[in-house]
Symmetry: C2
Subunit: 406 residues, 2 copies
């Protein structure tokens, strides 16, 4: 398989994509950007996945309509207001696409739209209309401003990109994400926008994305709340000049692997920057009887409030790991399970064959005081593996969400 | 239907039941009782339900074995150690029953056993053996000491009792409970011990309990973590002298209603005393297309970390209620849903037909600053109703669980 190399930049790493992010006034805090734009100089084959929440943000409905033909040229996204559960939400989301259409001279039906923020507060088009000149004037080939403009309670902008080779031609794929709260994706995560210059048939692009989210964004949980506005898009404009990927061959495998490298990196950034988080938690399950069992087990541990609080306190309370495995719904043989904790400071086994083993509390503390913790679970029941990502539950999660609207 | 009247006491409200609670040394803190005993002067028809967690505490296995004949005379319970995921757990749980047998002169197979506390730490019989004399010497007709001895992070002892009439004969039914953390019951809740002097056939007793938990303990959630040691027992010794209930007649209906009055009261006490809780939250769903839809919707709201944190902050962030309804898995018509908040300070509607309506933030704050909050959801889609109970998510929940073992 061709080498996949991490590169700089995010949503503008691929040829022919420009992006920008500005403050237009949706948010009161003028230091915080609240409007982002991503533009491809050529119509791009575009795949997307959306939240499974029955309450769906109006922008998702409009984006889905505009993607009926599988192609898009631009994406506009605001933060500070989810444009969800508003009587005129569809009208406003369409209006945002129309504004992009007028400013860039492309059909509104080629513009995608996304929103994130508070649910159920009317969103006015006025600040967006006023900000459009500035937004378009700032389009550049670095994606950072766009990554910043989609942040809500995120503390870091999230970008990732790789290069890879298809048919001897170098291609690039990169993306930006926002996460932080209301993160328990089911089909997609909060907002993730990925671009690539690789030429790939639209049906294969959608297939690559739909498969990928099962082991990337759907394995992340911050707080168990599946948002109303989750969306992941991948735009592929083909400007790399590679022979178009049209079959599930070796090139498709390389593309999927490149996509996965970027999505997993964004997953880890989303989990590690969960609301109030001080630690990135990775639950690695191995030797499961099948992949679904491994995934169910890993996700159950990462979602446990008690486990998350214990990790905040660097407390090796492995009973909570066993407990979460036990109620996960996965068919597990508890009497076979080993559990260990690992970090840059080493690894310890705390449970063998479903029962506690003596371990050094001092060593455990040293391991758990690190910023990135792995909980390793060996089910001794097959060969399947899975990983899930989450974060600790902290005072700041409560603080942030105790008065989010104010 | 005969009148059901709340009365004093808990697990000793019924004739012929005595209980005690002492400190025997399982817990280091000598002020905290850690061993409880409940004894019926006559063998009692006994029903029980247990956790659905695949990891089951050893005491549950032993209790289930001892209840194979449907009768019991006593129940012993320790706090401070869950006796779960220990290599010799069964042996210890059997040993606890044997100690009761020796001291009270009843068969060990008529003794039930329960444990609550940390998972995966060996439990020694020594302090229990040493405490038995004291435990038996303190048996009395008030249940408070037993209620105190089963507490872990609970801040209040939980007792409830009622009197009712069967065949013209006054009967009593009462119980004690512990809750606080790892509370998201599925078939039963942490530990609830109920006694009654009503004569009722064992099969009907089990039926009454199994039905009841579906709309009582299974509708409580503190933190989404289903414990390994959940257990609810009802012991019925028949000493009231009523004609035994042997059919699903009017008397059975009275018994079920009496049971429900006590279980719901205990549910509310468990939810209101959730770890770190400052508020009891009740989600009332009405006009659902069927009961399961109502229950699923109510429980999803009560389990949402974001909703719980908003309630801590007295923030009328109703979008989080809609969001939780949307991902609940229930088949809902979002466009029909009304949402309101209520407390002793009044009620306000914040969402009509799935969209926000203007409301006074000041009035909302006044309502949400109370200790008991109802979130009222009208689905306008049928006639079924459900209630679920939970609590807010607070700094103290994180604090309590950040270093529970230390």
């Amino acid at each position: 398989m061709s080498e996949i190399v991490a590169i700089e930049n995010g949503v503008c790493a691929a040829k022919g994509f420009r992006a920008s992010g500005v403050h237009c006034g949706i948010r009161k805090n003028k230091v915080k950007k609240d409007l982002a734009l991503i533009v491809s100089e050529q119509r791009a084959a575009t795949a997307a996945v959306y939240t499974t929440n029955l309450v769906k943000g109006a922008p998702l409905t409009v984006t889905k309509n505009h993607l009926a033909d599988g192609f898009a040229s631009a994406l506009i996204c605001n933060s500070g207001n989810a444009n969800t559960c508003n009587a005129n939400g569809i009208e406003i989301a369409e209006g945002m696409c129309e504004l992009v259409s007028q400013h860039l001279g492309i059909p509104a039906s080629d513009v995608l739209v996304a929103s994130t923020g508070v649910i159920g507060q009317p969103l006015s088009l006025d600040p967006i209309a006023e900000g459009m000149d500035n937004l378009c004037a700032n389009l550049s080939t670095t994606g950072l401003a766009a990554a910043q403009a989609i942040m809500t309670t995120d503390t870091i902008a999230k970008e990732a990109a790789v290069s890879f080779t298809v048919g001897g031609v170098p291609c690039r794929l990169g993306g930006i994400a926002k996460g932080s709260g209301m993160i328990h994706p089911n089909m997609a995560t909060m907002l993730v926008f990925i671009t690539t210059d690789c030429a790939i048939a639209p049906a294969l692009l959608q297939k690559a994305l739909s498969e990928d989210v099962k082991s990337s964004f759907n394995m992340v949980s911050i707080d168990g709340d599946t948002s109303t506005n989750d969306m992941v898009t991948v735009m592929a404009n083909g400007l790399a000049g590679n022979p178009e990927i049209t079959a599930e061959d070796g090139d498709f495998a390389v593309f999927c692997e490149a996509l996965h490298r970027v999505t997993v990196k964004l997953c880890r950034m989303i989990a590690g920057d969960g609301e109030g988080a001080t630690k990135l938690l990775t639950c690695k399950v191995k030797n499961a009887r099948d992949e679904q069992t491994a995934k169910t087990a890993a996700k159950s541990v990462i979602c446990s409030s008690l486990f998350k609080a214990a990790m905040f306190g660097a407390d090796a309370n492995w009973g909570r790991v066993l407990c979460a495995l036990g109620y996960s719904g996965a068919a597990l043989d508890i009497a076979k399970i080993d559990v260990g904790f690992a970090s840059a400071k080493g690894e310890i086994t705390v449970c063998k064959a479903g029962a506690g083993v003596p371990f050094s509390e001092e060593k455990a503390k040293e391991i758990l005081l690190e910023k990135e913790i792995d909980v390793n679970i060996d089910l001794h029941d097959g060969e399947a593996v899975a990983e899930a990502w989450g974060c600790d539950l902290t005072y700041d999660y409560v603080k942030i969400n105790g008065d989010y609207r104010t």
